[in-house]
Symmetry: none
Subunit: 187 residues, 4 copies
């Protein structure tokens, strides 16, 4: 019994550094040997804890998701005006930009393997973050939720492709001006 706890603890210990590896290189570009080397173990050990490369990949995503859920709860800023909440959220994303960029890379990578396996994981990832945003900001309109998610996703991807782009908060502020411009233009 207690062995299982140890086993799981070791498993998670091995899983954690994998996010960066998979995100920075891509699922197919990084080999099991390289992963093992980075973790300071041998491939045999990897296969002792995981059923294969894909299983390792999936369990890593699951672990990240579980950890992010915990982290998100801690950041919920209680009762605040809507705008303040959004600012809080953007600050949080800004601080953890690299982390979320990695998750996006990994998720996009994983989606390409679907068809071979169930496409449930991708949905679970998306829904986890959608739920988190919805809960924190209290958005009810689905289209608004989608739009907001798209913006946040887009900023992170854009800044990954072009690191000297304006940071998240600045872009969100500019977005508001765009909305006004549209409104003006429509009069």
């Amino acid at each position: 019994m207690p062995k299982i706890v140890d086993h799981d603890a070791r498993r998670e210990e091995l899983l954690k550094p994998c996010l960066e590896l998979f995100a920075s290189r891509g699922f197919h570009a990084i080999s099991m040997r390289e992963i093992a080397k980075h973790l300071g173990v041998t491939t045999g050990t990897l296969y002792h804890y995981f059923d294969g490369k894909l299983a390792l990949f999936e369990q890593m995503i699951d672990l990240v998701l579980a950890q992010d859920a915990k982290a998100a709860l801690l950041e919920v800023p209680a009762d605040q005006p809507w705008a303040a909440k959004l600012i809080n959220l953007s600050q949080y994303l800004g601080k953890r930009e690299t982390h979320f960029s990695q998750i996006i890379h990994v998720t996009l990578d994983y989606k390409r393997h679907e068809g071979e396996r169930s496409r449930g994981l991708t949905d679970r990832v998306i829904n986890a973050y959608l739920d988190s945003i919805q809960t924190q900001l209290g958005i009810v309109d689905e289209a608004q939720l989608d739009a907001l998610f798209s913006v946040l996703l887009g900023v992170i991807v854009y800044r990954d492709l072009r690191p000297n782009a304006y940071p998240i908060e600045r872009q969100l502020a500019a977005l508001q001006l765009i909305g006004q411009e549209i409104t003006n233009s429509l009069k």
Copy 2:
């Protein structure tokens, strides 16, 4: 007399179908043999026209960029109010959603190879589309341009991960409401 084949024309002919292959599977996940098979040629022919897998990949991106530049010019909607231009743009993106999704995948994929080679290509891709948007919409503020680019990028990536999300135009409309909500919340 040589076999009559326009080398460059044939090269582009081979390049065109590669966008979908690379985008849907990823650079490392698809093999030269698979590419050749899809194109109806042998790997030898591929290497007759291209210096290697990476060169093929890069030339494909260059070709797509050149073609998109042409296409963008045709779509310029002349003098219109700002909002109308944006709607036009979103409709255009909506129609070619798959295409742009492929370009994003391919660009993200390519970025991981940089460092080994010059990081110019990624910049060129980003700048090409930034310029196109800037020219068509006449945006002067850089932060606004970044923000708009992020939104469009985000919607495409989001809809790729979750195909039943609201379409681009609907999300842009919802975004305006979000802007208003922020404005209201700030009073």
Copy 3:
């Protein structure tokens, strides 16, 4: 606990039969698959022990050199008149003619790769055998050493190209007559 295999011992075990393979076919003419097959392993195993074909080739030469150095020490015939020493040497070469023929082939083959890598190996091979001859026969004059080395080298190469040529000892004897003929002719 790891599978009990002495890595270096296994490496040498794999290296030993390679001399004949490389010598009889040539570096470029023999494939890694063929080598693996002859050794009763797979190519994967080969690459587990060696960094590549060239590394395998170089390590093989190094191993042969180390073994020949040991063998040469055993054959040192102590105090004998000069002529007796030479006869001993020629007998030794005669017995191991195939072996030295292989080394010559392999060395000539390797020399063509140099320039890409350090040209040290060829020199080391030549010097190893030059030293051995010098030590055993006590030759001090460099030109004589060169001349003797050339003769021995030449006989081996010649008999490789034309197996029914006279054996080494017989040729050395004939060579003495040639020397006399020259002397006579010079009077």
Copy 4:
């Protein structure tokens, strides 16, 4: 009819530069495309004149042999004392050292392919040069002929492996001293 002359002339024109290519790189290390490029033609042209890589190789050797036979006749120094003839020969070899080194490389290379084809070519090459030496120096004893051939062969190979070794003439002189030493030692 006259066409055939042109054809053969062109054939020899293509063949001539191949000796250096094959000698410096080795039969298997150089590709038909590389050969074609060096000759300023395409592979198609190569296959127009030759039945394949091996045929090209063999015809090249034949051509070299034919040319060397002509050259050798011109160098025959008529009536001279034996020692003078040998000096003449060694001077001739010294001047054309690179050429003969190439022939040796090519011959050794070719010999490894035999078994697949008739082993006649190697014999023809050896015999051609043996005959030439025999004729020029008037040696009758076969063992002496073998010994002399071995020496000359050995010097060239040795100087190819170690370019700063003493030149041919110097080594031949030293060899005479070795003969005397043996004689002294035998008393």
